[in-house]
């Protein structure tokens, strides 16, 4: 099992997580994914990658550091993203997910992925 697959495997075992993927930060293309049916990984990677890039530019323009973690909360769940230097780790969670554990695992994994 590769490092990326092991990372996704660990994240998708967290209660309430519906899927996880690793995207290229510059391109918004999927590098690896483990997603439940009905989640469009290509769209999630492209849109989250774009969001991370825009927020990064916004924070730099505002004179603060780029975000290390994003939590986009919706009615039916959340999108979590942990940007690395070249990759973005994205996790899709349901409303009852263990967000604290997901956040810890993601920050740990993002640091290792780079």
């Amino acid at each position: 099992m590769t490092a990326t697959q092991a990372t996704l495997d660990r994240l998708t075992r967290i209660p309430g997580v519906r899927g996880a993927l690793i995207a290229s930060a510059a391109d918004g293309l999927v590098v690896a994914e483990q997603l439940m049916d009905g989640i469009d990984g290509r769209a999630a990677a492209a849109l989250t990658g774009s969001l991370v890039a825009r927020l990064g530019r916004t924070t730099v323009a505002a004179g603060v550091r780029p975000p290390v973690f994003l939590h986009l909360r919706g009615d039916q769940g959340s999108i979590l993203a942990a940007p690395g230097e070249e990759l973005v780790l994205v996790v899709v969670v349901g409303p009852a997910a263990n967000l604290g554990l997901a956040r810890l695992e993601m920050l740990d994994a993002a640091g290792r992925l780079g």
């Binding site: 995207a23 290229s24 391109d27 293309l29 769209a43 990677a45 492209a46 849109l47 990658g49 774009s50």
Partner: protein, 153 residues
């Protein structure tokens, strides 16, 4: 943004708004321009259309030789600008999209909304027969009429 046929406008407008593409050209596989956004001169459009159609023809032949069917898209990554070239089927025949985009967007976003535009074009295309091929004697007149429509002059 200008299009020769009105049903092309809404899908293309939606693509442009979502993808942040700098230049977009929709054309037939023979290089006849259907719609354009961002080009300032007709000469640039004609050159890009001819080159784009030629590249697609070359890559499709290359794919055939490799037994790969067809390539879905060709993306040329540049340091400040990139280019996506993709052929797709419509009820009006096979078309080509040429998209130039910069650092303000990503190839993932452009591909995602390009595919969405292709689906919208397929849904919006009138189902009647495509017009008959243009006769050589009318070619210049048709070309000039198309360029006037695409550039408003």
């Amino acid at each position: 943004m200008r299009a020769l046929e009105p049903w092309v406008e809404a899908p293309l407008q939606s693509f442009l708004a979502e993808s942040s593409a700098r230049l977009t050209l929709l054309m037939t596989t023979s290089g006849q321009v259907v719609a354009q956004h961002g080009f300032g001169r007709s000469l640039d459009v004609m050159t890009a259309a001819a080159l784009g159609a030629g590249i697609v023809a070359s890559t499709e032949e290359l794919a055939r030789l490799m037994g790969a069917g067809r390539f879905g898209a060709l993306v040329h990554h540049g340091p400040r600008q990139s280019c996506l070239l993709s052929a797709f089927g419509t009820p009006r025949g096979r078309w080509i999209g040429l998209v130039v985009f910069g650092e303000e967007t990503s190839v993932g976003i452009v591909q995602l909304f390009f595919d969405q535009m292709v689906q919208q074009l397929t849904d919006a295309a009138p189902r009647e027969q495509a017009p008959a091929p243009k006769l050589a004697e009318n070619f210049e007149h048709e070309l000039n009429a198309s360029l006037r429509a695409l550039f408003g002059r």
